[in-house]
């Protein structure tokens, strides 16, 4: 596993580009979902307090 990760870190390895691309795209997707979820819950809690 470690050797695979070290190998993936090398620019020459095609898989390093694939892993970088997938990490960025799917990471951003999960990040945005988490941000929206947190923000929506916060605003709804505020709304409940205001009632």
């Amino acid at each position: 596993m470690l050797s695979f990760l070290l190998q993936s870190g090398q620019i020459e390895n095609e898989w390093s580009w694939v892993i970088a691309g997938y990490l960025i795209v799917y990471g951003a997707m999960f990040g945005l979902t988490a941000w929206l979820w947190t923000r929506l819950n916060k605003v709804r809690r505020q709304l409940d307090r205001e009632q």
Binding site: V18, L36, Q46
Partner: protein
């Protein structure tokens, strides 16, 4: 399975929070299952004969771009629907879809740059497809900035609806750019793609579509909740203002 994204999802209506929570959970479950399937298929289909393993980036780059186009199309449709009906839920849908469209344009650009480096030797080049996509990104950032810069809801809806209808033409320019100009970016590979690769691409498109629906529904609910909170806080301020009695200057004025 897909939610009605024009439906009111604010916490004001009784039980709506609970309904939207259940709906979000359903979409999230479908999105996670779709992404897991897309990942498995994308990593197990044979690599492209010419490009090798880096071609697997197609399964995140192309769906990102297509979903961005879909999102901006929905923004244009909702903008037209607002101009016709004046229902604020259409305006909120347009805003939410544009926000998610900007996000997917950014991921398409990022994945494209990462794909470009090992295949073209550069992350970026002044190619018609790349430049027109960057312009699309900036154009819809401008759309979101216009919304933030207009405090009145009706003015905001009107201005952004007009911009949403005009800006969608940039999507056509991006799509046609590989045919209209000589580009480094490959032309559309409609019909010439291997069936296994095509299947993997469609699985990814399905997963990204579910993610788009989830993100847009959540963003729309957030915009509506924030608007509701703003209105309530304004009402609270107005009540405090009403309690302040102006001094009676009647006699002094008549004197």
């Amino acid at each position: 399975m897909t939610p009605d994204m024009t439906k009111d999802t604010t916490g004001d209506a009784g039980g709506t929070n609970l309904d939207s929570g259940v709906r979000f959970r359903k979409i999230d479950s479908l999105a996670i299952a779709g992404i897991a399937l897309a990942l498995v298929v994308a990593m197990t289909v044979p690599a492209d004969a010419l490009q090798g393993e880096v071609q697997r980036l197609m399964y995140v780059h192309v769906p990102s771009a297509w979903i961005a186009f879909l999102a901006f199309g929905v923004t244009a449709f909702a903008s037209g629907a607002w101009l016709r009906t004046r229902q604020m839920s259409w305006d909120t849908l347009a805003a939410a879809s544009a926000f998610v469209g900007v996000f997917f344009t950014a991921t398409a650009l990022a994945a494209g740059m990462i794909w470009g480096k090992p295949t073209w030797g550069v992350f970026w080049t002044w190619d018609a497809r790349l430049v027109s996509t960057a312009l699309l990104f900036v154009l819809y950032l401008g759309y979101l900035a216009l919304r933030r810069a207009t405090p009145d809801p009706i003015d905001r809806a009107r201005r952004s609806a007009i911009m949403g209808l005009i800006a969608v033409f940039q999507v056509v320019i991006v799509y046609q750019s590989v045919d209209w100009w000589v580009t480094l970016h490959q032309q559309s590979s409609r019909g010439s793609i291997d069936p296994q690769l095509r299947l993997s691409l469609w699985v990814s498109v399905f997963a990204f579509t579910v993610v788009y629906i989830g993100l847009t529904s959540r963003r729309k609910a957030l915009i509506e909740a924030e608007e509701e909170l703003r209105v309530r806080q304004m009402r609270g301020t107005a009540v405090a203002g009403d309690a302040v009695q102006a001094p009676d200057l009647g006699e002094e004025l008549h004197a």
